[in-house]
Amino acid sequence: MTSVIADPARDRPPGTPGTPGTLGSPPRPSPHHARAPRRPVLTAVAVVASIAVLLPLVFLLVQAFQVGWGTLDPLLFRSLTAQLLWNTISLTVVVMTLCAVIGTVTAWFVERTQIPGRRFWAVLVVIPLGIPDFVVSFGWRAIFPSFGGFWAAVLVMSMAVYPLVYLPVAASLRNADPAQEEVARSLGLGRLTTFWRVTVGQARLAILGGAVLVGLVVLAEFGAFEILGFRTLTTEIYTEFTVGFSTSAGCAFSLILVVLGAALLLGESTLRGGGRGARLGAGVARQMRPVPLGRTRPAALGGVGLLVAVALGVPVGSIVYLIVRRGSTTMPPASLLGAAGNTFFYSACAGLLATAAALPISLLSIRAPRREVRILERSNMLILGVPGLVIALAFTYFTEHYLSGFLYQTPLLLIVTYAVMFFPLAVVSVRAAVARSPVGLEEVGHSLGVPRHKVFWRVTLPLIGPGLAAAFCLVFLESATELTATLVLIPTNAETLATQFWAYQSDFAYSQAAPYAGVIMLIAAVPSFVLGRWFDRLPARGGTAEPQGPAPGTMVVL
């Protein structure tokens, strides 16, 4: 392998000389990067991971085109499709916007102001991410029987996924240079204007990245809308699968969804532009004086309190109520512990696998950003828009037809499927961590004659560790609540919390379903809590945690 130091392409473009504090995207490919280094091992692993992720998309295309235009034409081009498109797009846009606002404002209050109980809120506002969306819907409906329709879907989704914006924005606010806000204020800008022009500007990429994740998650959501009786493309895809005996028709609808997902990603790339945050130097690590809230303090407290009450209180409260009410059931008893064990095991393995698989492509896309790598990395994102059932059937097809059923309905394949489904969440987290770890430290290692793999283990990995942890947590959370793919691929006789919840819930046994929802929340709350705590302990530039050394590499943005 060539020496890293000797390769000029590994130096950052002028203007961002290894700046640990830069926000958002990796350096865009410049003419420089035409000579990006080839790294055969990393490339091989990245390609293998990408093939696994892209397999379901291949299956989707083959199925959709197999059926023939004559069947698809009347199915796709009718008023229902238009209605579903409208439902899906308007819902996605509204939820993305709401999450961007809620996530950003909450992050600002928690990170930059003297809001009482800051650390307490920092953890609490993240936990809703760990509550499955179908449990949230279920909870609301337990309280308000006629809860349903567009605004119900907006409320449920916003409350369930806004942490996807909050987390990266909070991290980037911590990381951003507080001096800019001070300069803006000293030049006479009001607090609101400063917030809008400086703070939001600094966090722009984090907001955008988070909102796109929100959009992709909303596109693929099924369970919540099924319970709320709100029809989107994804519920329709499931319907086509479940009534038409036609995998092809379902796949054709899924294609629309993939196109929408691609549009979202393309939009993000365009909006992201060449900007990479405003910080040029590492600056001086110092404690920023949090903004005193003054008379707005009760309002700020009330706002954050209300958010937590709605996002966390409603689902938890209704689950507790249902458990306490104790309905009877004719359903056979099931093992809560066994299901919890399976959920934990499958999800944890999926988290590890996805994180490990995300590392090579993230390293390549940041440290050796060739155009092909970027395309590969972006196309992996599309999988987030593909419904779980399609992905499960794709793996069914490939294992049954090319491996004679080897691995089919084994824990390993289920874990691989989860890892594939939520791979983009891992890539986003890991890539951001790599982008934020200063290549200079690695170069120092190399210049001191340490072999490349040792530098990786001793320098790179510890630096990006927190990003890996974030990736693990996100994949873990999503896997723990997955249902439709699980039902197809779970080992026969095994149950997860989600499948058992489904079995009870569809049999009117709400009181029996509730404990499973409760345990899902408990299991999922642990990584959320860790995630929240960890963000809370990020070296503070703008926050109030104890001042630390620069340790810039430990910064991460999702």
């Binding site: 006629s146 009786g229 699968f241 005996f245 995998t247 004719t330 059932l389 049954e400 059923g405 824990p411």
Partner: protein, 355 residues
């Protein structure tokens, strides 16, 4: 040494144990996974795999009794029966499924039409009246249910109820009825209407139902039964057992709904048959035949008669108590063959934009 690595020293200390731990966990997981894996492949002739779209309660009791009687282990998977059809078709010749047990006949007819089912032994078929079996002996009828009206007693009086499902298309029912176009149990009714009045009239009727259902379009019959009981909507058409099952789950005191039958032989008064078939690809044909034979034997039928799924046993002379007796039901005469795979109904439902 020390000065040289100073820069990276702290990360090493904190990073390594975590990494080592993560690696160990990952390695352990992989070993565990591989150890756990391969259970379907390990299935011997004394164990079969059942794909069940039927109710968990009944299926579990049937399986437990069968295992006790024969020593053959039955591994059960549960999912929506239509997803199972997609799954079995995707699995192809390596399908782990041996027996497929459904709530309705169309999924079985679909697999039979694709040539994926083995013939059922004639002695087994003989226990169920021929009209409830697959026309060409590819699957056997196990139990039955009928479509009824479920209505909220405080929102509508019994005397105001329609006598035919065709009446629900009238404008006076606007906002009062619930509809689950995606529910498998609804397709036989659509097929029945199309058979009697033709596709064009059936489509007009469906579109009127959709208009009348306004926002009460639900994903399945469970939701219809529940929403009617909660008082969200006055009435809906479901299979009779949904109401009994809901009563068993929530308790009679929490029931605010009742069921009513359509006029005898009404086009909407449809009898649905639940059945079981054996996959041709199964390598345990003898054990599969034994299991299917058990389902419609006197012992299996008695389990169904007492089960909490509230379906009617239809074989071996077993009857159910606690519901309108089976021989007093007066469904219309549409046959299993006429219900077919439901493809016609699905096409109409798609044209009506309900699917």
């Amino acid at each position: 040494m020390t000065p040289r690595t100073r820069v990276v020293r702290r990360p090493i200390r904190t990073g390594r144990p975590i990494l080592a731990g993560a690696l160990a966990v990952m390695l352990g997981s992989v070993l565990l996974v591989v150890g756990n894996g391969g259970s379907p492949a390990a299935a011997s002739s004394s164990s079969i795999t059942l794909y069940s779209g039927q109710h968990v309660q009944t299926t579990q009791t049937l399986v437990a009794q069968f295992e006790k009687k024969t020593g053959i282990t039955v591994n059960v998977r549960y999912d929506d029966e239509d997803v199972f059809v997609d799954q079995i078709l995707t699995e192809g010749k390596n399908s782990p499924a041996d027996v497929f047990y459904t709530e309705n006949s169309p999924p079985l007819e679909e697999l039979a039409s694709k040539g994926l089912l083995s013939p059922i032994e004639p002695s087994t078929l003989a226990h169920t009246p021929a009209k409830y079996n697959s026309p060409d002996g590819k699957w056997v009828g196990i139990s039955a249910r009928v479509s009824v009206i479920v209505y909220n007693t405080s929102l509508i009086k019994a005397s105001q109820l329609p006598t035919s499902i065709m009446d629900l298309a009238q404008p006076k029912w606007k906002g009062k009825i619930a509809l689950a176009g995606a529910e498998t149990d609804f397709q036989p009714i659509v097929t029945s209407v199309a058979r009697k009045y033709g596709d064009a009239a059936a489509l007009t009727w469906l579109e009127a139902l959709k208009t009348n259902a306004t926002s009460h379009i639900y994903p399945d019959n469970e939701t219809i039964a529940d929403e009617v009981n909660r008082g969200q909507v006055a009435l809906g058409v479901v299979n009779q057992y949904y109401w009994y099952r809901e009563r068993a789950e929530v308790g009679a005191s929490n029931m605010h709904s009742k069921i009513a039958y359509f006029a005898p032989h009404d086009v909407g008064y449809v009898l649905d048959v639940s059945g079981a078939g054996i996959l041709k690809s199964s390598t345990h044909q003898a054990a599969d035949q034994k299991f299917v034979a058990f389902l419609n034997s006197a012992q299996g039928q008695k389990i169904i008669a007492q089960s909490q799924s509230f379906e009617y046993p239809i074989a071996s002379g077993v009857t159910r108590t606690g519901e309108t007796p089976f021989n007093q039901l007066q469904p219309n005469s549409i046959s299993i063959a006429q219900l077919g795979t439901g493809a016609e109904a699905i096409k109409l439902l798609q044209e009506a934009q309900l699917l």
